[in-house]
Amino acid sequence: MISVFQQHWQELLVGFGNTLLCSVIALFFSLIIGSTFAIFEVLPSRFLHILGRVYIEVFRNIPLLVIGMFFYAVVPQYVVSINGFTAGTIGLTLYTSAFIAETVRAGIQAVDEGQMEGARANGLTFMQAMWQIVLPQAFRYVIPPLGNQFINMVKNSSVLAFVAGFDLMYQGDLIASTTFDTFNTYIAVGILYLIITLPLSYYMRYLEKKMG
């Protein structure tokens, strides 16, 4: 196993970097999209409410792999040519944004209603009250579950291997198929994943304990 690291550290490093990069990009965009749909759900507009619900239910109930492969196989043929990394990251973003929307919505609803009412009574518009009063408080509640979503995202980014995304899993698979040392290579890849996910997972548990 150590020899896998010694001989293939460059490929593994590229994969490690791509996995992190893809996860961070997907986190950024899925936070924006997810929060938007979460706000749709608490808005008084019935149309936006239904739109938010449909978006969340659709992306939550279809496998990430199907979404990713759609962007990898279908989109380049009919729309624009994108590479595997982009296709995978778009898929990961859309998929995760549905989960983040649910998390943020729960956070918004956990904020006392009096906060919104008080802000409105002080003359703020609905959107001002949402942005300045409710959301900042909601985000405090949702940091631990969001952290868990990020851990899931790092793990889920392994589907980039299906779409030639040059992530850690893909690189590991490449090494395994050239050296035939599947056993040790996958253990090495596993250790690299754990380096990202394990500390985060313990930190989130610590935060949960501290806040709960």
Binding site: N61, F70, K155, G172, F183, Y186, I187, Y193
Partner: protein, 217 residues
């Protein structure tokens, strides 16, 4: 639009449905196995027995923080190197069970911990043994809290069976790929069919769960 009519022949449709059946089969077996194993591990972790709970905890945390895809690769491509060979079906079920057991153990443990400690103390004070209190007082209350996270975990599991396409398990996604591999015009119709089929199965489960939660709570 004609590509839809061409793609949705009875033969193709039946071929997909057989795949859906494999998906459901693998999911059901994995759900049952991982629920049993996960509950046992979760309880072991909760009771804080010296040594064994720590070991179980470490194994759960390591497994939970790995991608399922990696476990699947390891089971199917890695384990034969040390003499453990499985066919795709057994490998898929094994990898999913190991991964999901760890996820479920964590749900069970945090569900039990969420029950107020006064419940356990009260039950003990009333003369129940530790095990009686756990089984009769704490677990039933915990189970109610666990239903939503357990169901989303089961839905994740159903979706994750699609990963087994890489080890040539003839499930839904694999069969759709075979069909559009013959003719790329079938690609969009196949993705639509995939999305609809997965959606129906997963959404139906979440509806059943919502009902269950109402009646149980």
């Amino acid at each position: 639009m004609s590509s839809f009519a061409e793609a949705y022949t009875w033969i193709n449709f039946r071929f997909l449905l057989e795949g859906l059946w494999v998906t459901v089969e693998v999911s059901l077996v994995s759900i049952i196995l991982s629920f049993i194993i996960g509950s046992a591990l979760g309880i072991v972790r909760y009771i804080r027995a010296p040594f064994i709970s720590t070991i179980v905890g470490i194994i759960i945390d390591l497994t939970r923080n790995l991608p399922l895809l990696l476990l699947l690769f390891f089971t199917y491509f890695g384990l034969p190197k040390v003499g453990i060979r499985m066919d795709p079906l057994a490998a898929a079920i094994s990898a999913m069970t190991v991964f999901e057991s760890a996820m479920i153990a964590e749900i069970i443990r945090s569900g039990i911990q969420a029950v107020d400690t006064g419940q356990m103390e009260g039950a003990r004070a009333c003369g129940l043994t530790y095990w009686q209190a756990l089984r009769v007082v704490v677990l039933p209350q915990a189970l109610r809290k666990m239903i939503p996270p357990l169901v989303s975990q089961f839905i994740s599991l159903i979706k994750d069976t699609s990963l087994a396409t890489i080890i040539v398990l003839p499930e839904l996604l694999y069969r759709a790929q075979i069909i559009y591999g013959q003719n790329t015009r079938y690609m969009i119709p196949m993705f639509v069919a995939l999305a609809v089929m997965y959606f129906v199965v997963c959404y139906a489960l979440s509806l059943v769960a919502a009902r269950l939660e109402k009646t149980a709570g």
